[in-house]
């Protein structure tokens, strides 16, 4: 008999299972055709046809072999042009860029390249769930910094300063933010930059939602003076082009870092999927209009949802990025988990408890508005009934 407990790495076993496992079980066992899910954080659009068609065409042409480890040169060239065009970022496509399997792989190899045993990584929370576990797998120690509703869930210079120790190696900057919808504007980033100048801390800027900001244009911390030398920008195609299943992302940064990350990438992954890379070239070349029209749709839904949440009596800070609202449910007297469980059981609407996104999430729930307006409308009618019956 094999002792699996002894066989498994303690590091892996030590990673806490996702906090919403129980919630999924509930969802799976629910036999309800009228359930509405505001739970999954992905575009409800299908990838635009011209992009899909480029993938199909690549298959027809027989482009089925590996690409260079760092990705197709043509694609890297397009990404470089895109980043310049959209965000005034300048990266050498041959030396400062890797095409990755989704933004997720970019995050993983960035952390693994920088973090060694006992190193500290500052992770603002609430935020996407992957950072802490990836840091732990690399032997590092995540140091969570809570962002606050009263600061519009932005990371403040003060909070950052307090979290820095001599062991701090990396700062994760997950903005526009999942799940709060918070963004960091230029002046916020300048304050953060002021704290970082003179340190040896690397910034991992997860900008996967960069295209989805409302009312202001996304600014990367790499745009702030002196920051480009310490910043790894992670971005990808999933959210902006509705390409989640293609698993296409990229990471850009200083050559000495990228060079080491390529090693991890080449041994662990080899290269990103070839079909997806060809589709991604098309997205970069002819997809700006798709982003524009999807963003416009998200914006309608964002305003609608916010209006309804507030109308139903929940306080909610205005999300300025991504496609999530993060209403404050403390007035109900329930915990986030209770709220989501009851909302699902009684009204068949799935939302995610804020606690799933780390400390500071208690008292909030995440609702994804990448869903049709008729869905959102029905979900909000049910929310109103739900709150009334409490």
């Amino acid at each position: 008999m094999i002792d699996y407990e002894a066989a498994l790495s303690p590091r892996v076993k030590g990673i806490a299972p996702s906090g919403i496992r129980k919630f999924f079980d509930l969802l799976e066992n629910m036999d309800s055709g009228d359930a509405i899910s505001l739970g999954v954080g992905e575009p409800d659009f299908v990838t635009p046809w011209h992009i899909r068609d480029a993938g199909v065409y690549a298959l027809e042409k027989g482009f089925t072999k590996y690409t260079s480890n760092a990705g197709l040169k043509e694609l890297r060239g397009e990404i470089s042009k895109y980043l310049h065009r959209r965000f005034a970022l300048d990266y050498d496509p041959m030396k400062q860029m890797i095409v990755t399997v989704g933004g997720s792989e970019g995050i993983d190899i960035a952390v693994r390249a920088v973090v060694s045993q006992g190193d500290e990584v500052i992770v603002p929370v609430p935020s996407f769930v992957c950072y802490g576990p990836i840091v732990e797998l690399a032997g590092g120690v995540p140091v969570y910094v809570e962002t606050k509703a009263e600061d519009e869930f932005r990371l403040t210079a003060e909070a950052l300063r307090q979290a820095i120790t001599p062991r701090t190696k990396l700062l994760v900057l997950p903005f526009p933010n999942n799940p709060t919808g918070a963004i960091m504007e230029r002046h916020d980033l300048e304050a953060i930059a002021q704290v970082l100048r003179g340190t040896n801390i690397i910034v991992l800027s997860d900008e996967i939602y960069a295209e989805l900001t409302y009312g202001s244009h996304h600014v990367s911390i790499a745009n702030i003076p002196d920051m480009v030398e310490r910043t790894l920008v992670v971005n990808g195609f999933s959210k902006s082009y509705a390409m989640t299943g293609w698993r296409m992302g990229y990471v850009c940064g200083p050559q000495p870092l990228i060079k080491q990350m390529v090693k991890i990438h080449q041994y662990a992954i080899m290269c990103a999927p070839t079909t997806s890379q060809y589709a991604a070239i098309e997205a970069m070349r002819a997809g700006d209009g798709d982003i524009l029209s999807m963003r416009k749709d998200y914006d309608y839904r964002r305003r609608f949802l916010l209006d309804k949440l507030r109308g139903a009596g929940l306080s909610c800070f205005e999300p300025r990025g991504a496609f999530y609202a993060f209403p404050d449910i403390r007035s109900t007297g329930m915990t986030s988990a209770e709220f989501c469980e009851q909302f699902l059981i009684r009204q068949h609407v799935a939302a995610i408890p804020g606690t799933a996104f780390g400390a500071g999430g208690e008292g909030f729930v995440r609702m994804c508005y990448a869903s049709s307006l008729q869905n959102l409308s029905e979900a909000m009618d049910r929310l109103e009934r739900f709150l009334k019956e409490l």
């Binding site: 996407f128 609608f304 799933a356």
Partner: protein, 160 residues
């Protein structure tokens, strides 16, 4: 930005003034007034539903008829067009550039009913010099909507 409201209604006419107001960050009354104005000015012509009749027990036949006409002094094509579109059977009527002049779509209960309409009503109108009738065999897409329902991916358990 000017035609935002029209664009939204063209996509989904069921959106209420209250919903539209929320989406656009405007006052409900303001939106309702604007819609009323569009209706009054005949900018919004109607709010029909798109129906796939093949899934019902109504066996309807739709034809696209090319019509060639001799334009008339003073009235151009309009007078003849008017004589055609007054028929209830006529679903749409466009003046075309190119090989023929008017494109007429009509829907009837049977092939025969449509043929009958073309011969007995359309072809005999003064100024109509020729017709060509094309029956529609299958509709794939209309007004941005697909007739076939796209398959859904399998259910997923994931957390993003």
């Amino acid at each position: 930005m000017d035609n935002e409201l029209l664009n939204l209604l063209e996509k989904d006419a069921r959106l209420t003034p209250a919903q539209l107001a929320s989406m656009l960050g405007r006052e409900e009354k303001d939106v309702a007034d604007e819609i009323a104005e569009y209706e009054k000015n005949h900018i919004i012509l109607g709010y029909p539903a798109l129906i796939d009749w093949t899934k019902t027990d109504d066996e309807l036949v739709t034809a696209l008829i090319e019509v060639r006409i001799a334009p008339q002094r003073g009235d151009g094509f309009d007078r003849i067009a008017e004589r055609i579109y007054q028929y209830e059977e006529v679903e749409s009527l466009y003046l075309m550039s190119g090989a023929y002049d008017l494109a007429v779509t009509i829907t009837g209960r049977s092939l025969r009913a449509v043929a009958e309409f073309v011969h007995a009503r359309l072809a005999v109108i003064d100024g109509v010099t020729g017709t060509a009738t094309h029956f529609i065999l299958k509709k794939y897409k209309e007004k941005n909507h697909l007739f076939a329902k796209l398959p859904e991916q399998e259910e997923r358990v994931l957390f993003v």
